[in-house]
Amino acid sequence: MKDLLRLKTSLNEEIEKLLNDQIKVEAHSSAIYLAMSSWCDNQGYDFSAGYFEKQSGEERKHMLKLFKYINDRGGKAISPEIFNIPADFESFRSVFEQALEQEMYVTQQFNNIADQCFKQKDFVTFQFIQWFLQEQIEEEYVARRILEMFDVIGEEGTGRWEIDKHIPKVSYSAE
């Protein structure tokens, strides 16, 4: 019998589902960062607002990268539903704690996808997600460094103002 399935798609059904789930996660990250941006803006943390707005854009780009890959491989990318986005946060510090937690969750998801790629012997997709695994090193690094500033600079007096001012300067270099 002719193999109609592989004529249509090279993606295994489970891998396609995992990638579609990851589209949801990236869209969710994008929306959370936008909420954080708004909160920071509201509280007068101008630089942080800008930082999160930029992050939100990056997450959307991640989402589209996955979107394109699924469709390019003959699968069907699904435009995600996004809900449960908080509008309020406990404190300046807690915003960044949540951001780090979100990034660690994302890393865990990609690890899981990598694991499935090995199990299904889908090395094409494994190769594709390398970029994301690499990206997560930076994402986690930056989020951690920012959190450390809360201890290094301290929140008292003009501390938060100082921290906010330093946010855009935190960067990662693999060298």
Partner: protein, 119 residues
């Protein structure tokens, strides 16, 4: 109805229906509840997902009359399925079996291709 050139091969059959593959038009034919419907590959897989996503447990509990039937109208087909709970379970069984055979065929094909010929 199948085109005159249709080369139908049976994918899977149960007491309640059958799925055939037409390798000429690259589509699947679902023969269920006295009627045949053609699906493109992606539409067939999507239709199966749709059928699988129906919450059977809640249909059993729900005593209102609309819960007696599940209506499915797949895009790009003229067909309207009005399924009782029984039909639904039968359809699921048929589609499960067909999906498995399609995957199996695919796996066998790729195994055969990756085995170097000893001729």
């Amino acid at each position: 109805m199948p085109c005159p050139f249709a080369k139908l091969e049976e994918v899977y059959q149960t007491q309640h229906g059958a799925v055939y593959q037409c390798s000429n038009q690259n589509c699947y034919w679902l023969d269920f509840a006295g009627d045949k419907t053609a699906f493109r590959v992606a539409d067939f897989l999507h239709f199966k997902k749709k059928v699988d996503s129906i919450d059977v447990a809640s249909l059993i509990i729900d005593s209102s009359r609309h819960a007696d039937y599940t209506i499915l109208m797949p895009f790009r087909s003229e067909r309207c399925f009005a399924l009782t709970l029984n039909d639904l379970l039968n359809l699921r069984e048929l589609l499960d079996g067909a999906r498995f055979m399609i995957e199996l065929n695919s796996v066998i094909k790729s195994c055969l291709k990756s085995t170097p010929s000893r001729a």
